[in-house]
Subunit: 362 residues, 4 copies
């Protein structure tokens, strides 16, 4: 199913970039969970545009209006529904996108799939704006997980050729992540911002890599095979536009190292069974080990660049050139950081809701 | 849900490594599709162990017995069900796994999740043996896709530090893949086998990377957001044991290149709209472009190695050493190649079954 | 899952009776389907209250605002989302419902399930108001089915002790159903209205039975076992508040007649294979025969009556008496008629979307 | 989805009447649940044929072989899989069914749906034999429910024109149900058997009505709207062949009585809030009240009768006469009793697994 996610909770995301509104419904949430709307707004603001000089200046004001499911600060058992009304109404100047698809965007594939009936304005339902309702749902799940002692944090580990050390897999420094720019150190933040600034100057765009940690999970969470932590997280994270790679723990480095190094040795610390390292990213057989779950996400460069690009006029069939108008974000990676956290929170909360395993012990 | 996959078809995989049998049910398949059991057996044989001197010699004879759903060489509309009876019965010597979990395996996480009730013998339901029923389902889907002109092929692109050029993204040379060893060239095969042989000699294991191409897909397949090609493929591929990274097209290289290079330019060739390159792996917005869908999968080294490894005795809580007995596959990457193809085939066939988009055109 | 329905389309209904809004999202609908909003409004008006002197006078103005999924009069492939803002804001006088549950309502069960966190005002998410978004989704599906030549119509066959002949199972007179009152004949309408009027006078309420026909279905629709027409329709129809019985064709009369009478004989008419009678309600083995699908639905009397009723004060545990305030509908059966049609339309359209059977013929 | 049921557990049923085997997989069951195979066999024997002189003498020996999911008498967390091999191999004499469909059976609808590729022998996947794997799954769920203090029992309340008093809705006499013949009293049993015997003598068949009670459920179980107890039970019960009506509590009698009589008054007994009567069948708003859940199921007469019946030869298009061969059960209602219990057990256990509501109280 397309814009619906979840086995136990059911998240449904709707809206188009320039349609009347975007929003979400979130069904299957227990009653009695506290909702802190101010904290949610702070979370949503982390993905808002216009936070720095190189970012797209379009001010969106992503302030959700809740239509159901919350009463007096608590979930009430009914489906949670929220909308954000769009300020930017559809303009005529998007018709060109249907005829001359922008490289790297979903313009062409949407045209083929929906036969011209799609809402092409601003990318329609394929727009990055759809991540706002994802963050509403994810921001709520994050609050409920925090109540259980489960914390989720992400930061940037690579922009272009600049990269940085990643989380210490054993003791993630979630709180060190900068609030202005989501990097582990001020030094990293400066390096990454410099690459982005340079891309901006060159009418270019640049991608990067985000690392996310989920800390405080109990051991034994997850289901076998297609219900494993990796499957569940990858499915939802790949729903974020521009994501092209998702890996866990050492991810693609597992191709290089020998088994004796990649295996994490078991030990006992503070009376708890742990692994000395956490190369597996806190997951064995799809099930949590109790160590932090660590995964990384690669985001491709923003496809919207000011440089002229070759495309085809779908009406005439002729090769032509398109120049994407407007001021565009040269790098969406910083804004994607809370979105990755939101996706992880939804996946984990869904798994926790469905965790039917008894506590029987042999 | 754990061992069940699919939106339109419903695949359910069952069995434990040393239980009475392993098998699968595949529901939702149209009637009247031809089934070539001999061809299926050839496909299953590609993942069978014991094909070369360094591989595990355990002869499994994975010959499925079909219990329903097929009649006179055609699907009959009823759910397809197949079993493979296990020859190796459960032995007592696996009890140690419950007490002293092997590093890198699911022994510990299964113990925590199932409270000691799990079938620990040979990894139980977490065993790589579960990929045999996956290959039954995938081998069938592959046949039905081939009938539609859609071909799927995978090969190894990396073993340890040795890697090779990947598929030409525009014209994948599916037929060049070796039948003895799944590499693009004999030279590659030799290089990779040499690394594996060396690991074998050192009582070590080694991982690698597999690349898979799906050729012949129409443009416009896939659903928005969580129903995109990437989400669907990643979810099932992460159901294969030992997979730790899944990327599409340029995958993690997207973090490095600028937007002007990563975007694929549209062109017209043979009267068909195509992209000149295929960095996006044939997918934009989760929807196929009509170019080959390309993805890569990183497999971690076999966790079973003969070297002594540190673990914890769960009963006593003491740190101890385990030495995994028996002859083990130093590298499961070659055997994983058809499994990746199977997973891709199931995901794609599921998407095709659910493709409700009308052919209306504006 | 609670307020979500569908295998191929995904309907999600949200809202509470006195919350900010009610609404629905409908995902998985192909692009390019025409939407006639005026016709939809006419359909919605059929379930609106205040249509006659005995009905509840509360004027709700159920005019949906579409937030996504429709563009220029056609579906655009994105999820369809619609809301109806509530005019009646929550008042304090509903707190009593939490303490003293009304007999026959969900007040008590909601209190137990949601631990007091539920939105009790007006029945909250359990209110009959939730059938308005159901009618939005169903009204749209009905339009799309009509485009394929499939028509759905329901009428009342029983109110209290008064009942009437049902549809001729072979040639349902859909067009004879009155627009003012949904009965097959003006005579029936008068009889039924008289019973309702009498109940109203006595501060009583009354239930009834609705019969629904789906005409124009092809033979061969439906899936085996739990995916049969009966299962799919019953699941959604039981989602309508106050429904307590659902039967197909002769329904409970099948307990009385012998097999030789209940079996429908095959014949050929106009070159088409048909059954001479249609006792089975157009369904054998869960699959359509090509004859009209006929089912009946029993609705219990409105639980809200002005008479004092015994209940328990949940806070004090004491037996007490409640008198439900306000003017209430003595019979909701007439307003439930379009809701039953809506439910049937959603179930059938969902089945048609998922109908993957090829047209191969042996 | 066709032969798959469940939101939290996933039941998949496979097989054809005369295929190699029938069976089921049941995924999503917690580890550590005890399994009493002998008790399961006793349950399965209740639906076995050949128990009395008028029943079909075909001896099926429905003894399931478990292929996975159970270890040392407990569930092990892996999917449970069981098969029953068929003794009766496919014979040639069923080809006639494809050409001349039996009235009242799924022969014609299967032929249209599957285009002649279906397994027509003995009704194939539409056979009543598919209820044997349903009883395996249901028998297991029943055991696990009993462990929680939830008991399920059904009995016959009507055969032809003979009917009987139903369960006392407040204190169902589950234990009074006869083991030889599932009626509440020996007198009832005699009456019903007499009707069946008479139908048998006349080469006729007869249907009936079954009532089922689920006792010991906590209040607050079930989900709103489409996830209510009625929706869930009706969906699975309609998956049983020959079921044509499903009602809850007073079911279709709700059309007759006034609201003041149909509403169940709340009271306190033994310190527990209860209803004085149980007309609603233990369900309000789809959620359990804590009183027994009561529902009734109407089964149509066995369509297989020895009398000649009119049908159409699908090849020639000519009207012809068919005489169904072999000795057939004149009434399948007695054998359907445990099947109804099984279906109820699966639905309830599925709901319990998915019951994520916290125990928070305001």
């Amino acid at each position: 199913m397309s814009s619906t996610y979840g086995e136990n909770l059911k998240l449904s995301i709707f809206g188009q970039s320039h349609g009347p509104a975007i929003g979400m419904t979130l069904d299957g949430i227990p009653a009695g969970l506290p909702v802190d709307l101010e904290k949610l707004q702070e979370f949503l603001n982390r993905r808002a545009p216009g936070q720095n000089d190189w970012s797209t200046p379009r001010k969106e004001e992503d302030r959700p209006e809740f239509l159901g499911g919350i009463l007096d600060g608590y979930t009430c058992g009914a489906p949670i529904a929220a909308v954000i009304y769009n300020k930017n109404t559809r303009s005529e100047d998007y018709d060109e996108l249907k005829d001359c698809p922008r490289p790297g965007h979903a313009d062409y594939t949407a045209q083929v799939k929906y036969g011209g009936f799609q809402d092409a304005a601003g990318g329609g339902h394929f727009s990055g704006r759809m991540t706002a309702p994802l963050c509403i749902a994810g921001g709520l799940c994050k609050q409920w997980l925090e109540e259980m002692g489960i914390r989720i944090g992400a930061h940037i580990v690579q922009i272009g050729l600049e990269n940085t050390k990643s989380f210490s897999y054993t003791h993630p420094e979630l709180d060190q992540v900068g609030t202005n720019f989501p990097a582990l150190t001020a030094e990293d933040a400066e390096k990454f911002q410099s690459v982005i600034q340079k891309a901006h100057t060159l009418d270019e765009s640049v991608g990067g890599r985000i690392e996310c940690a989920i800390v405080g999970l109990p051991a034994g969470l997850g289901e076998p095979m297609f219900g494993g932590i990796e499957s569940r997280i990858a499915q939802i994270v790949y729903g974020i536009p521009a994501v092209k790679n998702v890996g866990f723990g050492w991810s693609d480095s597992f191709a290089i190292v020998p088994g004796s190094e990649s295996n994490d040795r078991y030990t006992v610390a503070d009376g708890v069974i742990q692994t000395e390292t956490n190369h597996c990213g806190g997951i064995l057989g799809g099930i949590t080990t109790g160590m932090p779950v660590i995964f990384d996400v690669t985001i491709k460069p923003t496809p919207s660049i000011s440089k002229p690009q070759q495309t085809v006029n779908l009406k005439t069939g002729e090769i032509t050139t398109i120049q994407v108008q407007g001021r565009h974000d040269p790098c969406i990676v910083p804004r994607a950081v809370p979105v990755v956290e939101a996706a992880a929170a939804i996946a984990i909360y869904d798994l926790i809701l469905g965790n039917t395993q008894t506590t029987r012990r042999k």
